[in-house]
């Protein structure tokens, strides 16, 4: 896979109907009667390119990496059928809490994004937003064969085939569905990577941001969100 990081020609969102109505430029009346012009895309959303997460060396960083590995907070976003095997992990039989893995309901507080199975284009759009809102260092687990090469839905007009074209993936787990144990093994592998300081896909995403963005925009036809959602 060749990743071109030349600043590609990212189409800037200009078309009006691609902007969600609540994000359109408009004039609002303030309670005191004065008119204020708001441009939500520029006012509310970050316009700056993200920065890479700096990996330092040394004992402190090692300790921090250990802490990061032992405290994986998973975003509760079931993107596909894989979400059926995530709940068993928080229940008595498999109990992933004992490995320091927890579910968090909001992307801001999560480190791990499990893409559980196939991603339809409509979900991909949300997944990108969720992913970008997660604070670095962050990790993506691709669950099931759908994330690797399309899986079951390889010929569907609405699901993507290769997740790594749109989001950086740290660990893949084969299966359809993978057993919960396979997921636990995936977490173990991810921990191993983090402890070794190798789970750096989030930085790769930032380094190749233009490539990823171009891929994303190619298939998301109504890109009515800001370019960056950090």
């Amino acid at each position: 896979m060749e990743k071109e990081n030349k600043p590609q020609d990212i189409p800037v969102v200009k078309t009006k109907n691609f902007i969600a109505p609540e994000n359109e430029k408009r004039t609002v009346t303030a309670p005191d009667g004065s008119l204020i012009e708001v441009d939500p895309i520029n006012d509310y959303f970050c316009q700056e390119r993200p920065e890479e997460y700096k990996v330092k060396s040394g004992a402190v960083e090692k300790f921090l990496n250990w802490a990061r590995a032992e405290s994986l907070w998973v975003l509760g976003f079931g993107t596909g059928c894989g979400s059926i095997e995530i709940p068993p992990l928080v229940t008595p039989r498999f109990d992933m809490y004992r490995y320091g893995v927890q579910m968090r309901p909001t992307p801001r507080q999560s480190n791990v994004f499990i893409i559980s199975g196939y991603l339809s284009v409509k979900t991909l759009k949300r997944a990108i937003r969720s992913y970008e809102q997660m604070p670095s260092p962050k990790y993506v687990i691709g669950l099931g064969s759908c994330t690797i090469n399309g899986g079951m839905y390889w010929d569907s007009y609405n699901t993507i085939n290769r997740l790594d074209h749109y989001l950086p993936v740290d660990v893949y787990i084969a299966g359809c569905m993978p057993r919960p144990e396979a997921l636990l093994a995936g977490f173990a592998k991810l921990k191993e990577l983090i402890k070794a300081g190798k789970a750096e896909k989030a930085n790769e995403y930032i380094r190749n941001l233009d490539w990823y963005k171009a891929n994303q925009k190619k298939i998301i036809k109504d890109w009515n969100m800001p370019d960056y959602n950090w």
């Binding site: 064969s145 690797i148 090469n149 660990v171 893949y172 084969a174 144990e181 396979a182 995936g186």
Partner: protein, 601 residues
């Protein structure tokens, strides 16, 4: 709403004293169940690379990749699974024609690189290769296709053992469609068939009940479907992938079914050969056997003026003069041949090259010559007493029987040979014995053991049904002769025919002897080449290989540019090879004639 509603929920706390039910070591405490559908395993030695798994996979997760060089019946390909596609439905396991594919109960595969998830089970070593558990095809009557052949109606031994009427009745439409339905369209047969007939395609045509399409597919590679549909050696059926678990498809009967459905007068219309172009090139064909007819057919389709020279009074060669009528009725031979002749192929009967016209003359009169003269000489055993006048060659005898000549039939006969021709002569003689003496007393003995006999299995079985006794695994030693009449055949036990290197080297136990009484001995151990029509000076220009066979190039062109040879003389006795050679030679002749049009090129 009472106080009970407030207090009863607290009973949940009683669980706090219980041990947690969590699996302590999830990776080892809970292996997959016995039937778990985990990762793939493949027994590469058992697998034949038929690709049925690839065909049934709805995710196109399986590729066939080269593993070794193909051999007959094994494509040399092996399935490679893409776990970026697989959905672990195990349909590939259930459909596998050899039962080589199975799933293990291993289920953990974690990787950081998405490209890693492609592997060839059985070839790339994996931790679960030795895993006994996992999904296998369910036992019992659980098949995705019918393993049993649709039985074709035969004449009973009692009905057939005294007559030469065709013993196999042919499929009805329902039977044919049912039989055709068993095909998995793997195509291993196509490559194995010398003519590379589009077997899966015409079987599909049968399923679609589209006989005309089937006919067109047949004639693409084989202009003698009626004949082939009856007497082909069906190498395709030997390698048929269904044959690994059940009965192979009756590919031969299906071919015959297609040809049987179309009346002769429809051929031209269906095959669109009503108006063939004619160019000014002329080609002579020597011998109206399968290869000659095949060459004539395809050359004629290409527009050449074709003349066949046939030494006997009827066309068909070995097919007519070597195969008894109960297997191949004459009207069916005529049907195929008449069609070829109706395309505008000229035929000169009773013309023997070398006697009536010389080969050199032929070369001058025609632009190219193809010789498919076949193996008409019988080969003898050369044992003591084999020069007796009551010791016959099967070829001669069959020719006489088939051309309707009266032949002498003794009350007890011994046939030497284990091939199909031996069976033919055995069964023909048995019929004649039945007609004459009302009982059968015929012994057939072969060098090869029962399981190695070159004859088709059913031929042996049917011979026995018809009263012949077959003793495989005996080597003939001498013929006892008394008063100029053979009395019987001495044989010794033969254990193996070939040594480790595959050379012909029979190993016999000389102490174990046997004696088969018979007043007539027929030798049927092979046929010999008769190329007496080629003059000595001509022979100098033709290269000869070992064992006296003519060497040709891939298009059957001999050392003499305009002279092509093919069929049994090159390939050995086999109708389908003959047809294939004829076709190929036709292509070669066409190429040669085109090139000679532009000598500068």
């Amino acid at each position: 709403m009472s106080i009970k509603d407030i207090l009863t929920p607290f009973t949940a706390w009683k669980r706090v004293a219980k041990e947690p039910v969590t699996v302590r070591d999830p990776f080892n405490d809970r292996p997959g169940a016995d039937r778990y559908r985990g990762f793939h395993k493949n027994d590469v030695d058992k697998c034949i690379g038929c690709g049925t798994c690839e065909a049934i996979c709805e995710n196109e997760a399986i590729d066939l990749v080269p593993f070794k060089d193909p051999v007959s019946g094994d494509s040399g390909l092996r399935p490679r699974v893409d776990y970026g596609r697989c959905c672990w439905c195990a349909l590939c396991v259930d459909v596998c024609t050899t039962n080589s594919l199975s799933l293990s109960n291993e289920y953990k595969w974690i990787a950081t690189d998405p490209e890693e998830f492609r592997f060839t089970p059985g070839i790339e070593e994996k931790a679960w290769d030795k895993n006994e558990k996992g999904w296998k095809k369910p036992e019992g009557n659980y098949e995705f296709y019918n393993l049993e052949r649709v039985s074709m109606e035969h004449l009973h031994p009692e009905e057939r053992n005294d007559s030469f009427i065709e013993m196999v009745k042919g499929f009805s439409k329902e039977q044919a469609i049912l039989e055709a339905d068993r095909c998995v369209e793997c195509g291993i047969c196509t490559a194995t068939c010398p003519a590379h007939m589009g077997i899966p395609e015409y079987i599909k045509a049968i399923r679609n009940d589209d006989m005309e399409e089937g006919m067109r597919i047949l004639y693409e590679t084989n202009p003698l479907p009626e004949i082939c549909g009856r007497i082909c050696t069906h190498k395709c059926e030997t390698v048929c992938s269904i044959g690994h678990k059940g009965d192979p498809l009756s590919i031969r009967w299906l071919k015959r079914y297609i040809a049987d459905q179309i009346p002769e007068d429809k051929y031209k219309e269906i095959l669109n050969t009503n108006n063939l172009e004619v160019n000014d090139k002329k080609v002579a064909i020597i011998g109206a056997g399968p290869s000659g007819l095949s060459a004539a057919h395809y050359l004629r389709l290409m527009g050449y003026q074709v003349t066949i020279f046939e030494q006997y009074e009827k066309a068909g060669g070995m097919m007519r003069y070597g195969i008894p009528e109960y297997r191949l009725p004459y009207d069916q031979i005529d049907k195929d041949i008449n069609y070829i002749l109706s395309l505008g192929v000229e035929i000169k009967y009773n013309t023997r090259i070398g006697k009536d016209i010389t080969l050199d003359q032929l070369g001058k009169d025609f632009d190219a010559v193809f010789a498919g003269t076949g193996l008409h000489l019988g080969r003898g055993t050369g044992i003591e007493g084999s020069d007796n006048q009551h010791v016959y060659y099967s070829t001669d005898m069959l020719r006489k029987i088939t051309s309707g000549e009266e032949i002498e039939v003794a009350d007890s006969i011994v046939v030497i040979g284990g091939g199909n021709v031996a069976m033919d002569i055995t069964r023909s003689l048995a019929r004649l014995q039945m007609q004459k003496f009302d009982k059968v007393n015929i012994i057939t003995t072969s060098l090869e053991t029962e399981e190695n006999m070159p004859a088709d299995r059913e031929e042996v079985v049917e011979s026995r049904e018809e009263g012949a006794t077959v003793y495989p695994g005996w080597a003939p030693q001498s013929i006892e002769i008394k008063d100029g009449i053979p009395q019987g055949l001495h044989v010794v036990k033969c254990n193996s025919l070939f040594d480790e290197t595959g050379r012909f080297n029979p190993q016999c136990e000389m102490d174990v002897k046997n004696y088969y009484p018979g007043h007539m001995i027929v030798q049927s151990i092979g046929q010999g080449i008769d190329i007496s029509y080629i003059s000595e000076e001509f022979k100098e220009n033709i290269k000869f290989g070992p064992r006296g066979r003519v060497e040709t190039d891939e298009y059957f062109q001999t050392g003499v540019k305009w002279f092509f040879m093919g069929g049994d003389i090159i390939q050995g006795p086999d109708v389908i090879h003959g047809i294939a050679n004829g076709h190929k030679a036709a292509v070669g002749i066409d190429r040669y004639l085109r090139e000679s049009d532009f000598p500068n090129n």
